[in-house]
């Protein structure tokens, strides 16, 4: 019993020592999505949010063709928790990314439609991201579609 109490105390001390500093109640939400045209090298950049990345991998994941970005634009919106929601016309999925050490790392791939979205649009509806396609709304979080939200 004494040993258990000692171990619990020890774990508590270790946990306290290992915890990192967190600044809470952060709000990463962008008020409105960015619709960005992809350049000839497959890159997108947004002046207002100072973000820029290569979309080749995204198109390969979605269409098995890393050069299918030509003449296309992507729609990107960041939610309150800092996840980036990305989709584009004819995409079957909405991709959820996180930032990590100079890269956008895929966190989730939310399947929307077998036929692909026709005229997608992303709205900030904190804590959700609303995906509109042809007047129809779906509410998304980084975990997937929230069926409870109407």
């Amino acid at each position: 019993m004494k040993l258990i109490k000692f171990l619990s105390f020890l774990l508590l001390v270790i946990a306290a020592a290992c915890s990192t500093l967190k600044l809470k109640q952060a709000d990463f939400a962008w008020p409105v999505e960015s619709v960005i045209s992809i350049d000839e090298n497959g890159r997108v950049s947004d002046e207002r949010y100072s973000i820029s990345f290569d979309t080749g991998g995204l198109f390969y994941e979605e269409l098995d063709d890393s050069s299918a970005y030509v003449g296309k634009e992507i729609r990107i919106l960041r939610d309150i928790n800092g996840y980036y929601f990305i989709t584009a016309e004819k995409f079957k999925n909405v991709y959820v990314f996180q930032m990590d050490n100079g890269a956008m790392v895929l966190d989730n791939k939310i399947f929307i439609s077998e036929f692909g979205v026709e005229e997608p649009a992303l709205n900030q509806r904190t804590p959700f991201i609303e995906l509109i396609d042809g007047g129809k709304s779906l509410y998304l979080t980084n975990n997937g579609i929230d069926r409870n939200k109407k």
Partner: protein, 412 residues
């Protein structure tokens, strides 16, 4: 039955609820973009409005625009970075105020224009009268002191009057082409038409032409001093600056109207003539200055000819030393050099000639080297006489002293 009816109503209500929900699912991005687009359209409408009436009609559109989007204010405040909803409307109102000020200025200028037109007409008449009177006096007895004073007074009045008329013409053109319009690189056909009508009403082209003709005639009628010429030169620079801006716009406005385009070309050539007449007046006055001192030179119309005429006159004068009497040679030299060149031309006219690039320093140096050479050739003969005189005096002195000594020796 009642049960079915209320069930139908509920189904209809649910359907409408779902349908309207779907109908109103709208992209925030689209809302922001459409707001920006409507803002741009209104801003353009303000800037392109042709008159106050058209501008004022946009006020209602701005109000409608604001009301249409006021419900989206929160979204727009966040999205219109770095502006926000209210700031956007402040900017729109500011554009409205600025454009409104343009029209108010134009309105005031157009009212002033009518008065200016009448003043120009009366000054045109007055200037013609003055010029005719001056011409009459020019033919009359110039020795009459009273008449000379009267001519001077008339010339002064004419100069003031011409200047005033030119300023009025500039004002008329300024009122036709206010600053915002001058800054536009391309005028719309409507703007061009409106200015054309106003310009025609105000006889702009004929007034500009008249002004240039009168300025040429003024130079021809009067004898001008370097000070007066400097003033006219400044006036010409002002006109050149004015014509560079307004002329280009007027050419654009009159493009396609053949007779008027010809008139614009005439203005260009009249301006060149004004410049040419002024230059000729300078050379004529210089020649007259020499003639006044009995130095008759052949005509010259530029710096090179001037230098050549003077140096060849000096060459001839040098050749005539020994042919003409020394008194005559000396008189010619002193009239040319002392009374004319150094006293009047070099001090009064040469600075003007050099400032206006009509003569260069090298040409001035050539003339002065020749004058110095001329002087050098005249002086030795004078010195010869001096030597003879000194020698005669010396010999006479020595003779006298010798005779005195001989006389003393004889006595002892």
């Amino acid at each position: 039955m009642k049960y079915h009816s209320s069930l139908n109503k509920i189904i209809l209500l649910l359907f409408l609820l779902v349908f309207t929900n779907q109908l109103f699912a709208q992209s925030d991005y689209e809302i922001v973009q459409s707001f920006k687009q409507k803002y741009k359209q209104l801003e353009e409408a303000i800037n392109k409005s042709k008159n106050l009436e058209e501008l004022n009609s946009i006020v209602a559109d701005i109000d409608r625009f604001r009301n249409e989007y006021v419900e989206q204010k929160t979204l727009l405040d966040k999205s219109l970075y770095p502006d926000n909803f209210d700031k956007t409307f402040e900017k729109l109102n500011m554009s409205f105020v600025i454009r409104n000020r343009d029209f108010t200025t134009i309105d005031v200028l157009q009212t002033e224009n009518l008065e200016l037109k009448e003043q120009v007409a009366s000054l045109n008449k007055r200037n013609t009268e003055l010029m005719n009177k001056i011409q009459e006096y020019e033919y009359s007895d110039k020795k009459d002191v009273n008449k000379v004073a009267e001519i001077d007074a008339l010339v002064r009045e004419l100069k003031r009057s011409l200047r005033k008329r030119d300023e009025l013409i500039f004002s008329i053109v300024d009122s036709l082409l206010p600053q915002p319009m001058m800054e536009q690189t391309q005028l719309s056909s409507l703007e061009r038409n409106a200015i054309y009508i106003e310009a025609e009403k105000n006889n702009v082209l004929s007034n500009v032409k008249r002004s240039l003709q009168d300025n040429v005639r003024f130079i021809e009628l009067t004898t001008l001093e370097p000070g007066d010429l400097n003033e006219i030169k400044k006036q010409q620079d002002q006109f050149a600056e004015f014509w560079q801006d307004a002329g280009a716009k007027l050419i654009d406005i009159y493009a396609g109207k053949n007779i008027k385009s010809k008139e614009i070309k005439e203005i260009d050539s009249l301006f060149s003539m004004w410049n040419f007449t002024l230059d000729q007046e300078v050379w004529r006055n210089i020649r007259e200055e020499f003639a006044y001192h009995k130095i008759n030179l052949i005509e010259f119309t530029n710096g090179e000819e001037f230098t050549n005429v003077l140096t060849s006159f000096i060459d001839d004068a040098i050749k005539n030393i020994g042919v003409k009497s020394p008194e005559e040679s000396n008189l010619t030299y002193s009239s040319f050099s002392d009374s004319t060149w150094f006293k009047v031309i070099s001090t009064n006219w040469v600075p003007y000639l050099i400032d206006n690039e009509m003569l260069d320093l090298e040409q001035k140096r050539i003339v002065e080297v020749n004058i110095s050479d001329w002087k050098g050739r005249l002086t030795p003969s004078s010195f010869d006489w001096m030597y003879v005189l000194v020698a005669v005096i010396a010999v006479a002195g020595l003779g006298y002293m010798n005779r005195k000594r001989l006389f003393k020796n004889k006595q002892t």
